[in-house]
């Protein structure tokens, strides 16, 4: 294939990346901030290693390539625990990397620079790997094998320019870069499409590779699980390792945390990103098998390019090349940017502060991007021929995983101490270098073979303590992480936890002036806007957060020293806070006591009133009973003492006697009705025809009306209700008796239906209730015409118990009305209201 064409297409593709990024910063901003772009941007995880290397690994080691993608799937399932917490911390403290978090969490001056320096050293080979993939693919398409020409250098320089343009416009790296995110998402789409197309076309043209493999016994192990304990350990370790790498790789932190615009985007990413990984891995094994079948002498890492060429499909090979380039470039840009932020925040800015050159930090950040790219290129040129693609990537993964114990324990265990984190990280780094990095350099001939053998058989770098049979990466991962974790836990348990940070306070004016000097007038304005309502201590915290986002947490702390002072010592403040808390609790307790006392007093008053009412009731009942009883006794005594009374006189006395005993009997009945009611006899609801009930009541009082010469008339609508028939009848009788007692010539009963209620009215043409007595007409023993004084009182209680209400209407004569709900809803079975 013509080199000019390949070059032209390569640079056209890189130019399109610039355009996509520009669009993302302009009209495409909404798309760049969407959940889909976020999920696609996470696929920066899938590098050239995925695109070319996975097929290579599948062709030589079988299914183990899958483990690299199952780990991120597992980690993303835990986003409600991990990413959500990280996002809230990152927002509050403007974190830009795990190194920032370690410094913030543990406050140890060495942790940030150590983590940053180690990550740069550990990830440079990984960056070099991407440049190698581009160069190797380019050469392969040209039909050359050696030497690797310098296509990687202009590519690296272009990518550095891209990262500078779209990642370092401003000093604050915690701000979002929509253009960068959209370009990365675009590249993720391109590489997925390219690999699926290559796989689809190859399968379409060559058919199913699996039956063909059955005739090649040497290929069958590729379709079976790894053998023995060592094989299982390798598989399980790779799953865990890839999960940790996904969480701790600087570029993954950058896209998943720093560039996140909405935590809810993780809901989509939690399944969409694993789906992406599943899809991109679907064609890997078929391509690997076809490579082994058709190109037994070819480089397995280049099967993705070689198979389309073998089929004579040059455009497809070119698409595969672009897919590999997109995988490599996305990683190089984001990783380069993330490493430059690490370098500038933790290594450069403290130095620049010392030399009073902090104003040039943005320039130095741009220079560090260029330096990272050039160093990666240099590494590739020096060592590019020495490593297989996948081996170098895994060594970098193990390096990144060394942050896991301090990072995860720092997030979830309050007992983790700075000393523990530092000891664990140092121990992990030493073992990583001894078991993986130095042997790798020795293998490429840069170091003596001593670094492969070690000083003693028990200290062999790739078999510590005499371990045999483990893959070097698995061995290095397990030993370094075990020691790292043991040191972090052990040292934390035996050291004291210090206060996280010495809190400081300062004047807003001075803090604003500092922000203006370091970050410019925009940052000063933003600070003033937020700080004017804050107390001094919180304003100092806000200024530190703003500074930390731009110059790193360590430098921010140093800068603040000049314009702030210490707040009262922690112990003293704790005591003051404790005293304030106790005082508050005491006040709350006293208030609760006072409320309880008031409630008790009110309850006592209610009980006293009830007791008094009971006494009054007893007195009234006794009085009411005494009057007719006295009359009966007197009449009986008169009759007994005067047996010769004239017949007429005797008849009058007997009539009086009968009248008084009748009154006595009625009084006793009403008192019994009252006590039954007070005893809480439950309602007996049943469907009741109210008109029939009213007619029955009229029939019952008809003799009394006739005796008194009073005309009864009625107007009764047909109403059905679910109610207690006997209680309604009692109410009607009480009201009718009351009306008959006061009427001059006429009593009228009405029944109508209004608003889903039955409305009864009982009129009489008597003198009516005197105005001064209206308020007490429903009180017990308030009789104004010789009645018992319990009839209306009972009527009210009964009506209320049925969920209705009763009242005395205005107008001529007396008119009592009461309502009943058609279905009794608010009944009070006994107690009344």
């Amino acid at each position: 294939m013509s080199a000019v064409w390949v070059l032209l297409i390569l640079f056209l593709y890189l130019a399109s990346l610039f355009l996509v990024a520009l669009w993302g910063e302009g009209r495409g901003r909404t798309l760049a901030q969407s959940a889909h772009a976020y999920a696609f941007s996470l696929a920066v995880y899938a590098t050239a290693w995925t695109f070319f290397g996975s097929v290579g690994r599948a062709a030589t080691e079988g299914m183990s390539f899958l483990s690299i993608y199952l780990g991120p799937t597992l980690v993303l399932l835990l986003w409600p625990f991990l990413h959500e917490k990280l996002l809230s911390l990152a927002r509050a403290h403007r974190l830009t990397s795990w190194a920032d978090f370690l410094y913030l969490r543990f406050g140890h001056d060495l942790l940030g620079p150590l983590a940053a320096g180690f990550l740069v050293v550990g990830l440079l080979p990984y960056l070099a790997l991407q440049l190698k993939a581009i160069a190797q693919a380019f050469l392969f398409l040209r039909g050359e094998e050696e030497p690797l020409t310098d296509i990687a250098l202009p590519t690296a320089l272009l990518l550095a320019l891209f990262a500078i343009l779209f990642g370092t416009r401003r000093l604050d790296p915690s701000e979002r870069h929509q253009g960068l995110v959209l370009a990365v998402a675009f590249e993720s789409f391109v590489k997925l499409l390219a690999l699926l197309l290559v796989g689809g076309v190859v399968l379409w043209q060559l058919g199913n590779p699996f039956p063909q493999v059955q005739n090649r016994p040497e290929l069958l192990p590729l379709l079976l699980p790894p053998e023995g304990l060592a094989g299982y350990l390798e598989w399980a370790s790779l799953v865990v390792l890839s999960g940790l790498a996904f969480l701790f790789l600087p570029r993954q932190f950058h896209v998943s945390v720093v560039e996140n615009t909405d935590p809810q985007h993780l809901r989509l990413a939690a399944w969409a990103f694993p789906l992406y990984l599943l899809l991109i891995n679907l064609p890997v094994l078929p391509l690997a098998l076809f490579g082994r079948l058709l190109l037994p002498e070819g480089n397995p890492d280049l099967y993705v390019l070689a198979l389309p060429l073998e089929l004579g499909n040059a455009p497809l090979a070119l698409l595969a090349f672009l897919g590999g380039v997109s995988a490599a470039t996305a990683m190089v840009v984001v990783e380069g940017l993330a490493l430059s932020i690490l370098i500038s925040n933790h290594l450069l800015s403290p130095l620049l502060l010392r030399f009073r050159a902090l104003g040039s930090l943005l320039l130095w950040r741009r220079i560090s991007i260029l330096a990272v790219m050039l160093l990666a290129y240099l590494y590739f040129r020096l060592a590019g021929e020495a490593y297989a693609l996948v081996a170098m990537g895994l060594i970098s993964f193990v390096a990144v995983a060394q942050l896991a114990p301090a990072g995860l324990l720092g997030l979830f265990w309050k007992g983790a101490t700075p000393q523990g984190a530092l000891a664990g990280l140092l121990g992990g780094i030493v073992i990583w270098a001894y078991t993986l990095f130095l042997p790798a350099l020795a293998r490429s001939g840069w170091l003596s073979p001593f670094f492969l053998e070690g000083p003693h058989p028990l200290l062999r770098p790739e078999g510590l303590l005499g371990i045999r049979g483990l893959d070097p990466v698995t061995h290095g991962f397990l030993t370094s992480l075990t020691l790292n974790l043991a040191l972090t836990l052990g040292v934390s348990l035996f050291t004291r936890r210090k206060p996280l940070q010495e809190e400081r306070t300062g004047e807003v004016e001075e803090l604003a002036a500092l922000l203006r000097r370091v970050l410019g007038p925009e940052a000063e304005k933003a600070f003033r806007r937020q700080a004017h309502t804050l107390p001094d201590r919180e304003a100092a915290g806000l200024a530190e957060t703003l500074l930390a986002g731009s110059v790193g947490p360590a430098t921010a702390k140093l800068l603040l020293l000049s314009v702030t002072r210490e707040v009262p010592p922690e112990a003293l403040r704790e005591e003051v806070e404790e005293a304030a808390r106790e005082s508050w609790e005491l006040r709350a307790y006293a208030q609760a006591l006072e409320e309880a006392r008031k409630e008790l007093a009110e309850a006592y008053e209610r009980l006293k009133a009830l007791d008094q009412a009971k006494d009054e009731l007893l007195a009234a009942v006794s009085h009411e009973l005494k009057t007719p009883l006295t009359a009966v006794r007197s009449l009986a005594e008169i009759l007994e003492a005067n047996p010769d009374l004239p017949e007429e006189e005797r008849g009058r006395f007997v009539s009086l006697l009968a009248k008084e005993t009748a009154r006595l009997s009625r009084l006793v009945e009403e008192i019994l009705a009252y006590t039954r009611f007070q005893a809480g006899v439950p309602l007996a609801r049943s469907p009741t025809d109210l008109r029939a009930l009213a007619e029955e009541a009229l029939a019952l009082v008809e003799p009394l009306a006739r005796e008194r010469g009073i005309t009864m008339d009625s107007h009764l609508a047909g109403v059905q209700a679910l109610t207690d028939r006997d209680r309604v009848l009692q109410v009607l009788l009480n009201l009718l008796h009351n009306a008959l007692r006061h009427a001059r010539s006429r009593v009228r009963l009405e029944l109508t239906l209004t608003n889903r209620e039955a409305l009864f009215r009982v009129f009489d043409d008597g003198p009516g209730v005197p105005p001064q007595a209206r308020a007490r007409v429903f009180e017990p023993f308030q009789s104004f015409s010789g009645g018992t004084g319990l009839g209306l009182f009972l009527a009210r209680r009964l009506v209320e118990s049925l969920g209705g209400r009763i009242w005395l209407e205005e107008g001529e004569g007396a008119s009592f009305a009461f309502t009943l709900p058609l279905g009794v809803e608010h009944e009070d079975s006994g107690g009344g209201r």
Binding site: L70, F81, G231, W235, L266
Partner: protein, 58 residues
């Protein structure tokens, strides 16, 4: 939701890292595909489906 996320994580961890040698894996299974290949893509798909069902609604 956190409890379900945790349970799904452990289910996936168990499915992805179970001792594979305990089961007989044939190089040729249904549709001529190797059973190991089928197993991993099916359980991976299952985990993704469960994650989708768990996280799709806020």
């Amino acid at each position: 939701m956190k409890e379900k996320a945790f349970a799904l994580f452990f289910l996936a961890l168990g499915l992805f890292t179970m001792p594979l040698e305990l089961f007989p894996w044939a190089p040729k299974g249904p549709w001529g595909l190797p059973t190991l290949y089928l197993y991993f893509f099916l359980v991976w798909g299952l985990v993704i489906l469960l994650a989708y069902l768990l996280y799709r609604k806020p």
